[in-house]
Symmetry: C2
Subunit: 127 residues, 2 copies
């Protein structure tokens, strides 16, 4: 047990995990968009994220209201299309979020990696 947890108060609060971004489906949407600066068509995004039309629309509305994505209506080859892109704000906020996420993994993983030193009692000798 930690001896002085009071000094580490809030250590695992992870306030930077913005709930708008942290939701599983929206995390997928943002990851897909981050790697594609030109944006993605609605149907491609839907397929990449394995979402229904309704679910993707609902999540895009939330992301749009938070100013993280922009949605464009247009026509491509005579068919109406919807293009989704990350805004500059969205890119910045998602980068911040990813930094916190890396912090979570950094906090959790030391416990998972066996240490070569310090696991044996000092001064012990088989002789």
């Amino acid at each position: 047990m930690a001896k002085q947890p009071a000094r580490e108060s809030g250590r695992y609060a992870y306030d930077g995990l913005d709930r708008v971004i942290h939701e599983k489906a929206r995390l997928g949407i943002l990851t897909g968009l981050l790697t594609r600066p030109d944006g993605l068509l609605f149907n491609d995004l839907k397929s990449l994220c394995a979402l229904t039309d309704g679910n993707l629309s609902r999540h895009l509305t939330i992301l749009q209201e938070a100013g993280l994505v922009e949605v464009w209506k247009g026509v491509k080859g005579k068919r109406p299309q919807t293009l989704v892109r990350l805004t500059d704000r969205g890119r910045g906020k998602f980068r911040e979020y990813l930094n916190v996420l890396e912090g979570v993994i950094h906090d959790a993983l030391p416990a998972e990696q066996p240490k070569a030193e310090g696991t044996f009692r000092r001064g012990w000798s088989p002789a």
Copy 2:
């Protein structure tokens, strides 16, 4: 835009992000417990995660019902105490979750890191 998104269908679905674990407060609780194999007292966990009594209790119930943590009642120095520990199942499930989380960062970050090679047009020479 991706040329053949159909072939990458579900690429950003992240099914491995178990909702029981992915919730922000529970992610903090599990990270705190993973690094402390002996467990944490309720009050220390509450402080580390910056949660209220009610919130921590509610999240622990959810984690207990999923078999991820175990809760022990006892007495320490004449005062009743509650000890929380990760179960073996919890440790395994959380490890799996962290692997998926690393995958998210791996998917997102290539777009963020400038590449030294390939950004210049080949064959160009200042001479």
